[in-house]
């Protein structure tokens, strides 16, 4: 019976429809598995077993009433930067340690309507700032494949929980690689949708012009099932796109023959782990064997992607995080000594070092006298990165890159060197700068048994194509059937 925790969401959904298991039994099983594994993985910040069982009973009732929906009764979990009404939502920060969300994010509302069962809230880097989940104020999450390694970040809790069989799917958020890089580190599939594809209403903002919520699961098809529920125009988010949402899960079977895949020549050079390079090349050879042509493309401005991101994203963050001032919600310290002390002490004690570093960077980039040299110039480079991709898409239908230059690194390996940590996102950040859809899926393991991620980047709103290509690759490779032994 415990094997059921490892099965794909789509299979389990059929079991539920067939009545071979109830949502309550399934949820109980998952909760038992979380219980057995959580002390080692530590992916959850808040577990809500009672609420989950209540959701499950409701799902069983709906199914008994004839309702059929792939997510009805499926246990999932949510990165703790997404608001879930009545449940503590912390952004992995001391400043929101006791913050009870007063409303549901749009994605949560949509998933509730689809009948999903919510297990709880997943760990991440504080305010989604980081690449290892070590910036969580509540302690790190451990990589299920090797507990001495990080799960990646910032959606490390989401990736680890999915990889550890603690949920069938999870929501992550991706501002500069935060879905794809942990998905790669934990050997699962993660999708960063096009900017505007998924509503950000109820997502605790880090960098508003980059942030996107996306699905993380063990198979491409499972990601498709989630994405088609959460995507779509939301009247509460003025930046959400009006494009109609395809039924991604029904359009996964597409021929590969004739497709053109671009390989940016900047992606397999120095700093990329040899096994990662080999795994990506091997995947490309498989694509060629399927009648896909691989063309060399260039992303000449890729080397500016990280500095550009760390100016624009931090500028937005410095403004987005101003609301954590102790006045209306969250932590408040030092009020007895006046307003300035209250502001200072609340934020000094409430925010961790990486968050403070980014607030300072962003404040500096926007300051009078520096704005043109930093923020404005970074916006121009952002445009150049976008044009690089446009040029690449003239020659190729999608671009393939490694998701991360290395597999999961040991805990503590990069915490002393922020720049080294930032480089983990060198291949993922460009898609955020350009607002493009991108996906990471497993493409092998290194010698230490750590998963390697393959990244596909598509044209705006070409999520369907990315999912179909990834699905075809996944069908021919055994990676998804391997699980960490916990």
């Amino acid at each position: 019976m415990s094997e059921i925790v490892w099965r794909p969401l789509a299979d389990v959904s059929k079991e539920l429809d067939a009545g071979r298991i109830s949502a309550v039994e399934l949820t109980t099983e998952i909760l038992r598995h979380i219980d057995a594994t959580e002390s080692r993985v530590r992916s959850f910040l808040t577990l809500t077993p009672e609420a989950a069982l209540k959701d499950a009973r409701e799902a069983d009732r709906r199914r008994a009433g004839g309702e059929r929906s792939p997510l009805l009764g499926i246990p999932i979990a949510v990165k703790d930067v997404i608001l879930t009404k009545g449940v503590r939502t912390t952004a992995a920060s001391k400043i929101l340690e006791n913050f009870l969300a007063p409303y549901d994010a749009t994605v949560i509302r949509r998933l509730r309507e689809a009948g999903a069962v919510f297990l709880g809230k997943l760990n991440c880097d504080e305010f989604a700032m980081g690449s290892s989940t070590e910036n969580s104020a509540f302690g790190p999450t451990y990589n299920p494949w090797n507990l001495k390694r990080v799960p990646g970040g910032s959606s490390g809790g989401s990736a680890a929980a999915v990889a550890a069989g603690q949920c069938y799917a999870a929501l992550g958020t991706d501002t500069g690689g935060s879905i794809r890089q942990p998905a790669a580190c934990c050997g699962i599939v993660g999708v960063k949708p096009s900017y505007g594809r998924v509503s950000r209403y109820g997502l605790i903002a880090y960098a508003s012009s980059f942030d996107q919520i996306g699905p993380m699961a063990r198979t491409v098809a499972d990601c498709a099932l989630l994405l088609e529920v959460i995507a779509g125009r939301d009247p509460c988010d003025a930046t959400s796109a009006p494009h109609p949402v395809p039924r991604y899960s029904a359009e996964l079977e597409r021929p590969l023959r004739g497709l053109r895949v671009g390989l940016p020549r900047e992606c397999l050079g120095e700093g990329v782990q040899a096994e990662v390079r080999e795994a990506v090349c091997s995947a490309l050879r498989w694509f060629e064997g399927e009648g896909v042509s691989v063309v060399e493309t260039a992303l000449p401005h890729l080397r500016y992607a990280i500095p550009t991101y760390y100016l624009v994203a931090t500028a937005e963050a410095s403004s987005n995080l101003a609301r954590y001032d102790g006045v209306r919600f969250g932590l408040r310290l030092g009020e007895e000594e006046g307003l300035m002390t209250m502001y200072g002490r609340t934020r000094a004690c409430g925010f961790g070092p990486e968050v403070k570093r980014r607030i300072m960077l962003g404040t500096y980039a926007l300051s009078a006298g520096y704005y043109d040299a930093y923020y404005l110039r970074a916006l121009k480079v952002r445009t150049l990165v976008r044009r690089d991709f446009e040029a690449a898409f003239d020659r190729a239908d999608l671009v393939v890159m490694p998701t991360a230059p290395t597999t999961a690194f040991p805990l503590g390996a990069k915490t002393g060197d922020p720049l080294e940590m930032y480089l983990s996102d060198i291949f993922t950040i460009a898609a955020n700068l350009a607002g493009l859809p991108a996906l990471s899926l497993p493409c092998g393991f290194d010698q230490e048994g750590l998963p390697i991620g393959l990244q596909l980047v598509g044209r705006p709103f070409a999520e369907g194509q990315l999912l179909a290509v990834a699905h075809a690759y996944e069908q021919s490779h055994p990676w998804k059937d391997q699980h960490p032994s916990l």
Binding site: S319, A322, R323, A368
Partner: protein, 492 residues
């Protein structure tokens, strides 16, 4: 205008240079970026939601109506209405600013250029507008010194505002006051803002400097805040100009700073100097797409603009032959001008209608407090009823004097004038025999007064009129009475 625009200091003529920044709260039903009511006066924090409280995860959604209002004002003041404008964040910490930034417009405001025309005795003067931009209002801090706590009311947080920035084109406090009144009048005509300075829906900061007359260079400017009425604006600017001139006289430097008007002591005091000035770190608002306007939409708004006060005033002079003064008073408010025109439309002579509206009607409105938010909430009598009353006088059914009594009854009972006149027997006595019999009785009762009158004390005529009026309950037709009384006194 009324005062000399220049002052003599240190052997030089100086002039004041004044620019105003006005914040006008818009009369939209809901707030700028959320669905909460924008109405004034609800219990604290009742009109709030995650968006206007700046809760984590909340996002702004633009109220199109607020954009329409901005376009209306832009078109009415001859601005260039930009088809593409952008939102920006203005960052600063303050407890009444829930997000830690205000959503405003910075580099690309919705309206630029334009002007407001002032008319004075020396002719017309244009006050140019630098820009009009849209932004959201903040909440309100409430300090409770008794319990030593500060509270914040977020009802106002997110209410749409227009910031209207003039060029430094004004030279006297009176000119600044005239500009403000004109701007408010236009806003009220457009039904965009109620213009209430006391409630804070129409707020003004002033930039004031002085310079030698004829100089092209500006002096160091000082910003004045906390002026809550037109009078305060004029007094504060007057004080500030005087203060700066005295400083020049004494050879002291003028510091670029923000000063607060203290209405109790009638002085401005330093609030913060430029060294402490905020760096607002403006940058484009990533949560909102740029505002793109349709040219046809803007044209449709232009077509729907009401007749504006200047045009209406000119038309009143031309079409109704009114004195300029009457036309100015009547067109000072759109509702008042509408009322006047409704009375005239019933067939009343315009000047007669004007006298009644400017006199009795406005007095009744004021006495009964029927105007609030600078709008007349309720007219003391309907325009049609007033017209009927005036027509009763014009037909000679009642006297002008009786009409005042009928008017009071109309207000009290809300009944048509004819009914009141009939029921209370107020119809004028014009019948000569009836009047003559009253006259003879009065003359018979006062033989000594009659003798005095006949020996030349003509002032007594009024006494006899009064006696007859007393006997007839004021209903005697005054003209007829005069005529018959004079004949009776002379014929004896």
């Amino acid at each position: 205008m009324e005062r000399p625009a220049s002052v003599f200091v240190n052997n030089m003529d100086y002039e004041a240079v004044i620019g105003l920044e006005v914040h006008a709260e818009l009369l939209t039903a809901s707030k700028m970026f959320c669905g909460c009511s924008a109405e004034f006066g609800a219990p604290p924090n009742q009109n709030t939601c995650p968006v206007c409280l700046g809760l984590p995860g909340a996002l702004p959604v633009l109220n199109r109506r607020a954009v329409e209002f901005a376009v209306r004002l832009g078109l009415a003041t001859q601005c260039e209405v930009r088809l593409f404008s952008r939102w920006a964040r203005k960052n600063y910490f303050y407890p009444d600013l829930p997000k830690g930034y205000q959503i405003s417009q910075y580099e690309l405001p919705i309206c630029v250029g334009g002007w407001v025309t002032l008319s004075g005795e020396e002719g017309e003067k244009r006050i140019r507008l630098a820009r009009i931009h849209m932004e959201e209002d903040t909440g309100k801090n409430i300090h409770d010194p008794l319990n030593d706590v500060s509270l914040v009311d977020f009802n106002r947080s997110g209410v749409p505002l227009l910031e209207i920035v003039s060029e430094p084109d004004m030279r006297t406090p009176q000119e600044a006051g005239a500009y403000l009144r004109k701007l408010r009048q236009i806003l009220q005509y457009l039904e965009v803002c109620d213009g209430n300075m006391e409630e804070g829906s129409f707020r003004c900061d002033a930039n004031v400097s002085v310079r030698p007359l004829g100089s092209e260079k500006f002096g160091t400017k000082v910003e004045i805040k906390n002026m809550n009425s037109f009078r305060h604006v004029e007094r504060a600017i007057e004080f500030e100009v005087g203060r700066q001139l005295r400083a020049l006289e004494e050879g002291e430097p003028i510091v670029q700073e923000t000063r607060l008007w203290d209405p109790e002591r009638e002085v401005t005091r330093s609030m913060r100097t430029k060294e402490y000035a905020h760096d607002y770190r403006y940058f484009p608002e990533p949560d909102l797409p740029p505002v793109r306007l349709d040219r046809e939409w803007v044209e449709a708004i232009r077509q729907s603009l009401p007749e504006l006060p200047d045009a209406r005033c000119l038309r009143f002079v031309r079409e109704y032959n009114l004195p300029t003064y009457d036309a100015e008073v009547l067109t000072s408010r759109r509702d008042l001008a509408d009322y006047f025109e409704a009375v005239v439309a019933c067939g009343v002579t315009p000047k007669v209608a004007s006298n009644w509206v400017m006199g009795d009607i406005l007095r009744a409105v004021r006495e009964r407090g029927l105007d609030r938010d600078l709008r007349i909430q309720q007219w003391p009598v309907e325009a049609e009823s007033l017209a009927q009353l005036i027509q009763l006088i014009e037909r000679g059914t009642i006297s002008g004097k009786i009409a005042k009594t009928v008017f009071e009854r109309m207000i009290a009972t809300n009944q048509p004038p004819e009914e009141i006149v009939q029921r209370e027997g107020l119809v004028q006595i014009t019948d000569e025999n009836a009047l003559l019999s009253e006259i003879h009785q009065v003359l018979a009762d006062n033989p000594d007064k009659v003798a005095e009158f006949r020996s030349g004390k003509e002032k007594l005529f009024g006494f006899f009129v009064g006696q007859v009026m007393k006997r007839t309950g004021g209903k005697a037709n005054p003209q007829k009475l005069n005529e018959l009384l004079r004949a009776a006194l002379q014929s004896g």
